[in-house]
C-alpha cells in the first residue's frame, strides 16, 4: 500500500477541472455516492443504480484526464482479498433469500446456488462502484487539500493537527520503507525464503520495523524541533483560512447531490410500478 502513496500523490498533483474543484465538494460527492450505494437494499435494483452511478463516475474520471489504466491498476490493488470473499458467496446461503435453487452440485456436499450467484454480483457491483468513488477522490485531491477540506467541514482540531503531521511522516516512512527494502534486497534477504530459519526471518523483520520506526521518529523529532523554533506551541492548531465555495462549485455540488439522491429513489419507485 505504501508503494501506492507516491503514485497517488503524483496523480493528485496533475491538473484538470476535477482537480481544481474544492476538496469539500469532492469529499461530499464521494461520500454521498457511497452512502447512497450502500443504502440500496441487497436486490437486483442495484444493477440499474450501479450502471447509472458508474456512468456518472466515468464522466467525472474522463474529466480528470487520468487514464483508465490508472483506475484499473488501483482497483486491482484493492479487489483481490475481498474479491475472494465475494467469490465464496456463490457457495453460501444467507438471510436475504428464503429459497435457494441448486445450479451445480459439487463433491463434499458443496453446492452453487442461483440466488447466491446473484447475491455475489450484487456485492461486487456495490463494492466496485464504492471504491471507484474513493479512487476518484484520492486521485484528484492532494492530501493536504483533503485535510484542509475536512478541517473546514468540522474535523476536530486535534485530529486535523495529528493527521497533518501523520501525512508528513507517511512520506518519511515511505522513503524509509523503500530504502530498507532495497537494503534487504542487496543483502539477498527474502522474508519468504523457506531455506532461512523462521525465527531468524521474524527477528530480522522485527528489527527492520523497529529501525524504521526509530529512524522516522528521529527524523520527526528534527522536524518538530524546527517547528518549535518557528513558534509552534502547545495550543497551536492547524490554521485553516475561511474559503467560501464558488458559484460553479455550489452548482456542481447541488446537481450531483440531486442526481445521487434521485437515481436510487427513482429506480426504487419504478420497481413498484413494474410490479
Amino acid at each position: 500500500m505504501i508503494e501506492e502513496l507516491f503514485q497517488i500523490e503524483r496523480d493528485a498533483y496533475k491538473d484538470s477541472i476535477i482537480h481544481r474543484i474544492d476538496a469539500r465538494v469532492k469529499i461530499a460527492i464521494a461520500f454521498a455516492a457511497i452512502i447512497a450505494l450502500v443504502a440500496v437494499p441487497y436486490s437486483t435494483m442495484i444493477y440499474t443504480v450501479g450502471v447509472i452511478f458508474f456512468f456518472f463516475f466515468c464522466i467525472l474520471w474522463t474529466c480528470t484526464r487520468l487514464s483508465f489504466g490508472t483506475f484499473l491498476r488501483r482497483v486491482l490493488a484493492i479487489v483481490p482479498l475481498w474479491g475472494v470473499i465475494i467469490f465464496f458467496q456463490i457457495f453460501l446461503k444467507n438471510k436475504y433469500y428464503t429459497e435457494y435453487d441448486v445450479l451445480f452440485s459439487l463433491p463434499f456436499g458443496i453446492s452453487i446456488y442461483a440466488q447466491s450467484i446473484e447475491f455475489a454480483f450484487i456485492l461486487l457491483v456495490k463494492f466496485i462502484i464504492c471504491i471507484s468513488f474513493i479512487i476518484l477522490l484520492s486521485s484528484t485531491t492532494k492530501m493536504h487539500d483533503m485535510l484542509e477540506g475536512a478541517a473546514r467541514m468540522g474535523l476536530p482540531a486535534e485530529f486535523a493537527l495529528a493527521l497533518g503531521m501523520m501525512i508528513r511522516y507517511l512520506f518519511v516512512f515511505g522513503y524509509m520503507f523503500r530504502k530498507i527494502n532495497e537494503t534487504l534486497q542487496t543483502r539477498c534477504f527474502d522474508a519468504f525464503d523457506h531455506r532461512l530459519p523462521y525465527p531468524y526471518r521474524l527477528r530480522q523483520l522485527g528489527y527492520t520495523l523497529g529501525t524504521m520506526f526509530i529512524r522516522s521518529y528521529e527524523q520527526g523529532e528534527r522536524v518538530y524541533t524546527s517547528m518549535l523554533c518557528r513558534g509552534y506551541g502547545r495550543d497551536s492548531y492547524l490554521f485553516v483560512e475561511r474559503k467560501p465555495l464558488k458559484g460553479g462549485e455550489w452548482a456542481f455540488l447541488f446537481i450531483s447531490m440531486v442526481f445521487i439522491i434521485a437515481v436510487p429513489l427513482a429506480v426504487w419507485l419504478s420497481s413498484f410500478r413494474l410490479l
Binding site: 477522490l137 484520492s138 511522516y169 522485527g206 520506526f213
Partner: protein, 214 residues
C-alpha cells in the same frame, strides 16, 4: 480485517459509527489532556508507523501472508488504550479515504475492531500480565496476539450479523488465520518494543523500561 463498503448494511454501519463515535470522543479527551507537545510528534509518527507496518507483508504459511494490526503496539508505547483508538482512527481514515482499504460507511466497525477492541485488549492484557509475570516479552507477546485475534473474531461476528458470511465458517477462517498472524504480530511487536526500549527508552512510558531486559 478492513471491512469494505457494501459488506455491512447501512443501518448496521450507522450503529457501529455511533458506538465508535463514543470512543472517538473519549480518545479526543485523552488527546486534549495527555497529548502534550512532546507526545504529538510521537502520536503522528506512531500513526504513520502503524500505517507502514500494515504495509509489510509477513509470511504466514502455504504462500499466504498477512500484516500487523498495531493496536497493542500503540497502546503499550503510549500507555493508554485511548491512544490506540486515536491512532488507529487516524490510520483507518487515511487507509479508507486514500487507498480504499476499508469502507467509509463501515469505518465505525473497523475502528471498533482494530482501535477499540485491539487497543483495550492489547493494553489490559499487557498491564495484567506484566504485573503478574514481570516479563516484558511474555506480556507483549500475549497482548499483541490477543489484540490481533479478538478483533478478527469480532469482524467475523459483524459479517455474520450483516448476513454476508456465515458465523461458524467466518469464526473458523478468521480465527485460524489471525491466530497464526497473531503469533507473528506477537514476535514482531516484542522485537519492535525491545528495540525501541533499548535505543530510545524515553519513548515508552508504561513500565516496560524497567523490565526491558527481562
Amino acid at each position: 480485517m478492513h471491512i469494505p463498503d457494501a459488506f455491512i448494511p447501512i443501518w448496521q454501519g450507522a450503529i457501529y459509527w455511533i458506538i465508535a463515535l463514543v470512543f472517538i470522543a473519549l480518545a479526543l479527551r485523552w488527546a486534549r489532556n495527555d497529548m502534550n507537545e512532546e507526545k504529538l510528534p510521537l502520536v503522528a509518527v506512531l500513526a504513520a508507523g502503524i500505517f507502514a507496518l500494515q504495509s509489510f507483508n509477513l509470511p504466514v504459511s502455504m504462500g499466504t501472508s498477512g500484516h500487523l494490526v498495531g493496536g497493542a503496539l500503540a497502546a503499550i508505547i503510549l500507555g493508554s488504550p485511548f491512544a490506540a483508538v486515536f491512532i488507529l482512527t487516524l490510520v483507518l481514515i487515511v487507509q479508507a479515504v486514500l487507498f480504499g482499504d476499508g469502507g467509509i460507511t463501515v469505518l465505525g466497525a473497523n475502528i471498533i475492531n482494530m482501535g477499540v477492541i485491539g487497543g483495550f485488549v492489547g493494553f489490559y492484557t499487557f498491564k495484567g500480565l506484566i504485573s503478574a509475570t514481570k516479563s516484558m516479552p511474555v506480556s507483549v507477546f500475549f497482548a499483541a496476539w490477543l489484540a490481533c485475534l479478538i478483533p478478527a473474531l469480532a469482524c467475523a461476528v459483524e459479517m455474520f450479523l450483516a448476513g454476508t458470511f456465515p458465523l461458524t465458517e467466518g469464526l473458523v477462517a478468521m480465527g485460524i488465520y489471525h491466530a497464526i498472524i497473531g503469533v507473528i504480530e506477537g514476535f514482531v511487536t516484542i522485537a519492535v518494543i525491545y528495540l525501541v526500549t533499548s535505543v530510545r527508552p524515553d519513548l515508552v512510558d508504561t513500565g516496560v523500561k524497567a523490565t526491558a531486559g527481562a
